[in-house]
């Protein structure tokens, strides 16, 4: 299972990086979304998969899944959400002010000379 997950994560990273390298701002943000999914799944996979019950005491299993990666991911999800939201509004404002979402056109004045 872990190997399958590693491949899935690899594909998520591949498409995320490909999107980040594109011209459109929106696609770049979609790419970061895919990257963060990949990272979260990576943390979970590296903690080991399906090694026991849901980490809530009182479940009858004698073994629980490792709760630490889950706590880490929860934090990471919230932070990446905050950053994504911020970026999206930034992109939206950039559209409004500059009238473009093409990263190549968003260069500083020096590069255009």
């Amino acid at each position: 299972m872990e190997i399958l997950m590693a491949i899935v994560i690899g594909i998520l990273f591949t498409s995320g990086v490909y999107l980040i390298l594109s011209k459109s701002l929106l696609r770049i943000i979609i790419g970061t979304g895919l990257l963060s999914h990949g990272a979260h799944l990576l943390i979970l996979t590296m903690g080991g998969l399906k090694r026991g019950a849901v980490p809530i005491l009182g479940e009858d299993g004698s073994k629980y899944t490792d709760p630490v990666p889950q706590a880490l991911i929860l934090t990471a999800i919230v932070i990446s959400f905050g950053v994504t939201a911020f970026f999206l509004v930034l992109a939206y404002r950039a559209y409004q002010e500059l009238g473009t979402d093409n990263v190549d056109k968003l260069r500083g004045s020096e590069g255009n000379e």
Binding site: M1, E2, I3, L4, M5, V8, G10, L12, T14, S15, G16, V17, Y18, L19, L21, S24, L26, R27, I30, G33, L34, H37, H40, L42, L44, M46, G47, G48, K50, R51, V54, P55, I56, Y64, T65, P67, V68, Q70, A71, I73, T75, I77, V78, I79, G82, V83, T84, A85, F86, L88, A91, Y92, R93, Y95, E97, D101, L106, R107, E110, G111
Partner: protein, 810 residues
């Protein structure tokens, strides 16, 4: 604080006071006030002669950074005394001269004297420091104050160019020298010159010895304007003439000579020291004197002449270092070269200082320094002419002036090379007398040229800006004193030998000290009819012949193409470096985020792959894997399909929806992998972010809303596949390389008993690791505030509107 330290620091203290005094006493020329200090210092150092003469030294320590063994150890011996006398003596004369040279109403005198005093203090620090790091500090301070002085007329472009050039070259050398010093301290564990000297016998076998030697010599050669680093000195002639006289003839350019002399006991046992210094010195001497003849500017001639004479002294120091290789002390002829070097050092300071002052007077009284416009000043300026005669004839090496004596000693030294039987000198030694003789011929020519073109012939009054007349007595005083010294040292050289030369030579060759009597005898030996005298007669005869036929062979200077001059190399070098780095930055930093991301990803792939192979870390362990079920396979397929859809989607809407699909599938994975809290959060957040994406999509600008295919790019695809592969391999290898168990056991055991909770994840979030959560909350808060600010705050719009209104009003 000892008197030595006080002497070194007093110019700096004085420099602080100058601006205040300048403001207070507007009527008085501030130079009169400055003059007091170097005169007192000169008398102070004069009073040390009896002590030093008897072999005594003055040593005082002032703690600076004791933990690094960097202390300000002032050390006054024969060599130090000679230099301090030059610095303070010529310093006083130069200050006196500058009082008449610089107009107090037209020039910013306070700046001038602050720089000059800084320089004087730094120079005293260089020659009196025993600690290498302190020496380096003062060394850089001389570069720095010399930079300020060369660029004194900073509104002129040539001044700035000359200042920058000298700064670049001397600081380059200074930094190399620092490297050499550090290597020395690594080898010996000490920064003290005299402690390092004690270890010089064992040092030579150290593998760092040769690099240290070369680096230190780079410092000395750049400072003393040796080949090929002499190019800064002719351009430094843009400085006011008192500065040229002081820095670029008598003191700063001799700092490199001082360094070589001072470190001779450490390095001289190595053959490279002898070879490099003697050869570079003699080449510099010959090349610069050859080039001096072609100059048309008085100060240009003097600059090249300075370079040439410095080469002469340098080669004498190199030749003199051979004396350490010979044990037969009773007949050690090679130490004569050291005596000659020290003697010529003094002579050069006297006649070159006076010649620069003469050039300054000519410039001051006629308005030009171009020898093509000058001529016939002999009758107008008789006193200046007399001084010039003394100075130039001494420079040319004619009797009865002091230059003659040192030139004879120079010839003796290069002839002695023929008797050497070390360093393949049997075959190559003949080079030295030939080059020395050639150099002397050209020295003779430019000296005569300088004298005759300026002072004889016809007065070309129509070409001069001012009507020439004799300079005021105050301006003439300093060159008269120096000219008088030239004559006095010429007739009575022995007043120097016992008091100054012997202790100086003793501190350059301390290992031969027990033979003290030999030094003395050698110096007084200056008469006799011998080969050296014949060489001098040859110089005069050939020199006069060449001077008379100068017009016929002058074209020889045009044969050598301008493209290959060292200045062109320097300028090309600067140009190429500047343009090269500019275009490098231009190419690399092209302003496109995508290129930067490509660099980052390529480095990521490269470094991680390299490390994986280097550490042999790629591993696949299939023993401890979780089983794969049909649900997992289905979800994995959905995720893969989702991400491929995003890649291939023509419409942005499709990709947003596909991203949402991927997100929901991830939350389904969380359910499968027993993470209910994650699944909940992921579901909610995916919903909200998809809504946000849709909002951003809705507000796309109308123009580019036209939906287009993403456009396939091979490089991008290769890079992203590389990143994905690297991540997969790292994930698999990391999973196969588990080193130790998880710490989860502790949380599972203590969640109920110690924290009083049941949900492991939540207890970790708010109890065991609550700090993370607090700052995660701050992140969300900051994001919310930031978003609010971005939407509400419209500063640029207001500005734009204001500008628009302003345009309309026009």
């Amino acid at each position: 604080m000892s008197s030595l330290h006080l002497a070194i620091f007093s110019p700096f203290l004085m420099a602080i006071l100058i601006p205040f005094i300048f403001k207070l006493f507007r009527k008085l020329h501030i130079g009169w006030f400055v003059l007091i200090l170097p005169s007192i210092l000169f008398l102070f150092f004069l009073s040390k002669i009896p002590l030093i003469k008897d072999g005594g030294v003055l040593k005082a320590t002032l703690n600076w950074i004791p933990s690094f063994d960097i202390n300000f150890v002032a050390y006054l011996d024969g060599l130090g005394l000679l230099f301090t006398l030059l610095i303070t003596g010529i310093g006083s004369l130069v200050v006196l001269y500058s009082i008449f040279y610089l107009d107090k109403n037209k020039e910013k005198l306070h700046n001038f004297y602050v720089y000059l005093l800084l320089f004087m203090g730094a120079m005293l620090g260089v020659v009196l420091s025993d600690n290498l790091i302190v020496l380096y500090t003062f060394w850089e301070l001389t570069s720095f104050s010399s930079f300020l002085l060369i660029g004194y007329w900073n509104t002129r472009e040539r001044s700035r160019y000359g200042a920058q050039k000298s700064m670049l070259i001397t600081v380059f050398g200074g930094l190399s020298m620092l490297g050499g010093f550090i290597l020395l301290s690594i080898m010996t564990g000490s920064f003290s010159i005299h402690e390092i000297m004690l270890q010089s016998n064992t040092l030579i076998s150290n593998e760092l010895f040769l690099p240290a030697l070369i680096l230190v010599l780079l410092g000395a050669f750049t400072k003393s304007a040796q080949f090929p680093f002499y190019i800064w000195l002719p351009d430094a002639m843009e400085a006011p003439t008192p500065v040229s006289a002081y820095l670029h003839s008598a003191t700063m350019v001799k700092a490199g000579i001082y360094l070589v002399a001072r470190l001779t006991p450490i390095f001289a046992l190595h053959g490279a020291w002898f070879w490099i210094i003697s050869l570079i010195g003699i080449i510099t001497m010959c090349w610069a004197s050859f080039n001096a003849v072609k100059q048309t500017d008085l100060k240009g001639i003097l600059a090249f002449s300075t370079v040439s004479q410095l080469g002469l002294i340098m080669s004498l120091l190199g030749l003199g270092s051979a004396s350490l290789h010979y044990d037969f002390l009773s007949k050690n002829i090679y130490m004569g070269a050291i005596v000659a070097a020290v003697f010529h050092l003094i002579n050069h300071a006297t006649f070159k200082g006076s010649l620069f002052m003469v050039a300054g007077i000519v410039d001051h009284e006629t308005g030009t320094r171009d020898i093509r416009k000058l001529g016939g000043l002999m009758y107008v300026m008789p006193i200046t002419f007399t001084i010039a005669v003394v100075g130039t004839l001494s420079m040319a090496g004619l009797p009865p002036f002091n230059g003659f004596l040192s030139k004879e000693m120079f010839f003796t030294s290069v002839l002695n090379v023929l008797q050497m039987n070390i360093f393949q000198m049997e075959t190559w030694g003949i080079l030295f007398p030939i080059l020395a003789w050639l150099g002397s011929v050209f020295t003779f020519i430019y000296s005569i040229l300088l004298l005759l073109k300026t002072f004889t012939g016809k007065l070309q009054e129509e070409k001069l800006d001012k009507k020439p007349h004799e300079a005021p007595l105050g301006m003439l005083f300093s060159p008269i004193v120096l000219g008088a010294l030239v004559i006095i040292f010429g007739f009575f050289p022995n007043i120097l030998s016992r008091n100054i030369l012997e202790p100086a030579v003793a501190s350059i060759l301390p290992n031969l000290l027990q033979e003290n009597d030999r030094f003395a005898v050698h110096i007084r030996f200056w008469h006799g009819f011998n080969l050296e005298l014949l060489m001098t007669i040859g110089v005069v005869v050939v020199g006069i012949l060449l001077y008379l036929t100068l017009k016929k062979w002058r074209n020889i200077y045009n044969i050598f193409p301008k493209r290959f001059t060292l200045n062109r190399f320097y300028e090309k070098g600067i140009d190429i470096t500047e343009k090269g780095s500019y275009s490098f930055t231009r190419r690399l930093m092209n302003g496109s985020i995508r290129s930067y991301l490509i660099y980052i990803f390529i480095f990521f792939i490269g470094i991680v792959t390299f490390t994986l192979f280097k550490k042999d870390a790629i591993k696949m362990d299939t023993t401890n894997l979780a089983p794969i079920g049909i649900y997992e396979i289905t979800l994995a397929v959905i995720i893969i399909l989702g991400s491929i859809t995003i890649l291939g989607a023509k419409s942005r809407l499709t990709s947003i929806i596909a991203l949402g699909a991927v997100g929901y599938t991830v939350s389904l994975f969380y359910i499968l992998f027993r993470a209910p809290d994650l699944a909940l959060t992921q579901l909610v957040i995916e919903t909200v972010s998809t809504a946000l994406f849709l909002l951003a999509f809705y507000h796309l600008p109308q123009l580019s809303r036209k939906e287009e295919h993403i456009g396939f790019k091979l490089t991008n695809a290769l890079i992203s596949i590389g990143v994905g592969l690297v991540i997969t391999i790292v994930a698999i290898s990391a999973h196969s390389n588990k080193m130790f168990d998880s710490i989860a056991k502790y949380y599972i055991e203590n969640t109920h008993d110690k924290a009083g909770g049941g949900n492991l994840v939540n207890v970790i979030l708010v109890d065991f690791r609550g700090f993370d959560t607090m700052f995660e909350i701050s992140v969300l808060g900051i994001a919310a505030l930031g978003i609010y600010g971005m939407i509400k705050l419209r500063l640029s719009n207001q500005k734009k509107q204001q500008r628009r209104m302003a345009d309309e009003n026009k």
